[in-house]
């Protein structure tokens, strides 16, 4: 299932060429907090203009990765680069090309949103004020309100608008939609698509699969500090199994065991099959039974995700 295993055979030359073209590059990046290994040898390259989804459950090391990329925490070993600039030793130059949205909005409670925008814009040169006004409109934010009077979702909007309005080359987004309502999530997705259209690179850390599925060119899956899988959505699906749900006129029949097919009960007269490889043998086996409906679909990212975090208990034939 390992799509892109660590590439020990990659020639050094190619790695250097990659680095100059990449927005994010990490090399054996590890972080240890006391006895906990939060990030374990991360090798990651995100090309310029790419929208990269960074998926993992809580505590898998997503935020640690971003803190290392921003030079807020220091790597225990390995290195991280943004646009070829070392994330730890050269953070200020790197940050001129980066905008960051934290998972939790940590802002100044006594400032209003408008004052916060002004402050952040003064610190990050190149804020597009006209675009910011568009975003304020789109996210329906009352900029006269003080941060302390805003709900978490609204504070999240302040962060998002400030980051998007910089039009930075790289957007580092750490679970940016936490606290946003569904309408605002749609607005957020539009913004990310616009950013991609302008050629901005987006690094989107998330545990919301539909979001990543809708936005990202490439996805990395993080588990216990290790990148366990990486690829385009198409590549991930290629290896994935199909789900076939069948309902019968009467009780669900007993079917003979088929290679590459895993059966689950889905109700008194329905069965769910997870099939890796072709579905021919299953169709043949079903032919002699009173099938009323048959639906087949590709595995959602959700299921791919579950597959990785449920462990290898044979559901999809590992």
């Amino acid at each position: 299932m390992q799509l892109t295993p660590p590439r020990p055979d990659t020639p050094e030359v190619r790695s250097i060429a990659n680095r100059s073209e990449s927005a994010i590059h990490t090399d054996g990046l590890s972080k240890r907090y006391g006895t906990t290994l939060a990030l374990d040898g991360l090798n990651l390259t995100v090309g310029k203009g790419e929208v990269y989804g960074y998926l993992g459950p809580n505590g898998s090391g997503k935020t640690t990765t971003i803190r290392l990329l921003l030079g807020l925490h220091r790597a225990s070993s390995g290195r991280a680069e943004l646009f070829g600039l070392d994330a730890w030793s050269d953070p200020v130059r790197a940050h001129e090309r980066v905008a960051y949205v934290a998972g939790e909005p940590f802002l100044w409670p006594s400032l209003t949103s408008a004052e916060t925008f002004e402050f952040l814009a003064r610190l990050h040169h190149g804020t597009d004020v006209a675009y910011r006004d568009v975003l304020v409109e789109r996210f329906k934010l009352d900029t006269r309100k003080k941060i302390r009077a805003l709900s978490k979702g609204n504070r999240q909007k302040v962060q998002l608008i400030a980051a998007l309005a910089t039009r930075a080359e790289l957007l580092l987004l750490d679970e940016p939609t936490s606290g946003l309502d569904p309408l605002m999530e749609v607005a957020f997705r539009d913004c990310v698509k616009e950013a991609k259209g302008r050629g901005q690179t987006v690094f989107l850390s998330s545990h919301i699969l539909s979001e990543v599925e809708a936005l990202c060119d490439r996805v990395g899956i993080l588990r216990d500090g290790k990148l366990v899988d990486e690829g385009t959505l198409a590549e991930l699906r290629h290896l994935a199994v199909q789900t076939v749900e069948v309902t019968f006129a009467g009780d669900a029949p007993e079917l003979p065991a088929l290679a590459g097919v895993h059966v689950q009960s889905a109700g008194p007269n329905a069965l769910r099959f997870e099939v890796s490889g072709g579905v021919g043998p299953l169709i043949a086996a079903l032919a002699e039974h009173p099938v009323t409906t048959l639906t087949s679909r590709e595995l959602s990212l959700e299921e791919i995700f579950l597959h990785h975090y449920e462990g290898s208990d044979g559901h999809v034939g590992g």
């Binding site: 921003l70 807020l72 940590f106 100044w108 408008a114 402050f119 006269r144 003080k146």
Partner: protein, 551 residues
């Protein structure tokens, strides 16, 4: 009806079991609150015990004979400058009388600060941080939460009282009088717990609650100062809780009945606070907090400018508080005179570690050691604010922008130094103005020099605090306050003890040339500034190499 009560009888069994839980929840809450307060409680308990022990022992040692005590008492009986800080002495000829005055007067101020901090921590900080909401969402009612918090504070008060009592008894004072003195000091804490409880209901943020409470402490202290120093104003002592503690007169004809006053005030304040707490929305205060405002875009151009913007209220509080105090001390300078005080007494007085205080200049120089302390504490507060920015993770927001760590920390340190310079010069200027208004002619340049003379020590403490911040961020605020307090108390009391001279001199406060009475000590000042600079550079270097650290 009886049938109905019969049907509800069945679930009464689980109900009674939650009745058992009814004690478990407040106990858990109180234990949690005690744990939260443990560092502060233990630090204050040490302070109380050590001060209570050192004073009587030191006095006995420094003034062993009745004649030396008589001379000492004569010098102090009418010295208003001394009363300013320690209150009115009722009997300076005995160890116990001296102790009641010196220990009681000093610890009263610490007791009021402790009460305020404890109350605001338990009753507003918890709510400000949103944790109270979590507690109240469980089966715990508001009353239970309130009482649990108070129970934890009461345990803290008991610990402080016992610490002071233990210190006094160990120094050889009788148990009865020691108990009276400890009770008098401890009685101040609950009153200011009441004050803190009330400001915690009025204000919607921790900071505002502390500022309001701090203003109340300042007001009551000012009342005591006026009562103790002005002629015919003695009655005013009954208007301040700090005065009540004096009126208990432990050791010197005790009136424990006076303790009813703080008890009544405490009950009243806590009841009013409880009444307000029961009726308001969680997360709000009685005083309106503006939710919207027109944008004011000043002081947003850099992290340092924004830090000044968020610190300006506290800067104004510091400036006006110290300024007012400076003016009062200046105005009192007239009451000091050398008439009738012998050289030998001046020598006796100098054993107190206070230098010559019997001339206006000497007295003002003596007062300025307290301003040196205040400006040093201001530095701790500034570094604390910087640490707070990091603990609240706003620093993460800043440093993810093109802002370097050295720029941020350097800006905060520069802001602290600038604020300290403003406060120091204001202290000098207003002391001069006060002295002039009292009819004492003194050099303005000299007093501004006395103000500026506060800076080297304070800047050195800022450097050391910055170093602590870089190395142990979570403990840094407590460490820097602790260091300044210990260094100062050592300067005041170390000389009373039978310890080698170099050990007495082991505090930076001992090396402040008391301008204008003594010459400015450029060598010491330069050394302190050099230490400050080295510490600040080391702090920046280390800070650039560590992880940002959350709460």
């Amino acid at each position: 009806m009886s049938a109905a009560s019969g049907t509800v009888a069945a679930p009464s069994a689980p109900a009674s079991s939650t009745g058992g839980m009814g004690l478990a929840a407040p106990r858990a809450l109180a234990r949690r609150a005690l744990r939260d307060a443990r560092v502060r409680t233990i630090s204050f308990a040490y302070l109380f015990a050590i001060l209570a022990y050192i004073q009587p022992v030191g006095y006995r040692d420094a003034y062993p004979t009745p004649s030396s005590r008589l001379a000492f008492a004569h010098g102090f009986a009418d010295n208003k400058a001394i009363r300013l800080f320690y209150g009115v002495p009722h009997d300076l000829l005995t160890v116990s009388g001296y102790t009641a005055w010196r220990v009681g007067g000093t610890l009263a101020i610490f007791a009021s600060v402790f009460g305020l901090l404890a109350a605001v921590r338990a009753l507003r900080t918890e709510e400000d941080a949103g944790r109270m909401e979590l507690v109240l969402a469980s089966s715990v009612g508001r009353g239970t939460a309130y009482l649990s918090a108070l129970a934890a504070i009461a345990a803290g008060v008991l610990i402080l009282g016992l610490a002071e009592f233990a210190g006094l008894v160990l120094s050889g004072l009788p148990a009865g009088g020691s108990a009276n003195l400890a009770a008098a000091t401890a009685s101040i804490v609950p009153v200011f717990v009441g004050v803190g409880a009330l400001t915690s209901q009025l204000a919607s943020t921790r900071r505002m609650a502390l500022e309001l409470g701090g203003a109340a402490v300042g007001l009551f202290l000012a009342l005591r100062v006026i009562a103790d120093t002005s002629a015919n104003a003695g009655r005013l002592r009954w208007a301040t809780p700090l005065g009540w503690a004096e009126e208990v007169r432990p050791f010197t004809g005790a009136h424990p009945i006076v303790l009813l006053l703080p008890a009544a005030a405490t009950v009243l304040l806590l009841a009013v606070a409880a009444r307000i707490a029961a009726g308001r929305d969680i997360g709000t205060g009685v005083l309106p907090s503006r939710e919207s405002a027109k944008p004011r875009l000043g002081l947003l151009s850099s992290p340092t400018a924004q830090a000044l913007r968020s610190e300006r209220t506290s800067l104004i509080v510091w400036l006006s508080g110290i300024g007012a105090f400076a003016y009062i001390t200046g105005a009192l300078a007239k009451s000091t005179s050398t008439a009738g005080i012998s050289k030998s007494l001046q020598h006796e007085v100098s054993k107190l570690g206070t230098g010559s205080i019997v001339t206006p200049a000497g007295y003002l120089a003596f007062v300025f050691i307290f301003f040196v302390l205040a400006v040093s504490l201001f530095m701790c507060a500034q570094l604390g604010a910087a640490r707070h920015e990091e603990a609240d993770e706003r620093l993460e927001t800043l440093l993810s922008l093109p802002v370097s760590r050295s720029r941020w920390l350097g800006g905060r340190l520069a802001l602290a130094v600038a604020g300290a310079a403003a406060i120091s010069l204001a202290a000098g200027l207003l002391t001069w103005a006060g002295a002039e208004s009292g009819g004492v002619s003194i050099s303005l340049v000299g007093m501004l020099g006395a103000g500026a003379n506060c800076l080297p020590v304070a800047v050195m403490f800022l450097g050391i605090a910055a170093l602590a911040y870089a190395i142990v961020p979570r403990a840094s605020t407590g460490l820097s306050y602790g260091l300044v307090t210990v260094a100062f108390l050592w300067d005041l009391f170390g000389s009373l003890l039978n310890v080698p001279h170099w050990l007495v001199q082991a505090t930076p406060f001992a090396h402040v040339g008391l301008v204008p009475a003594q010459p400015f000590r450029a060598d010491a000042a330069l050394l302190m500034l050099a230490i400050a600079l080295a510490s600040a550079i080391a702090a920046t270097w280390i800070f650039q190499r560590r992880d940002l650290t959350g709460p």
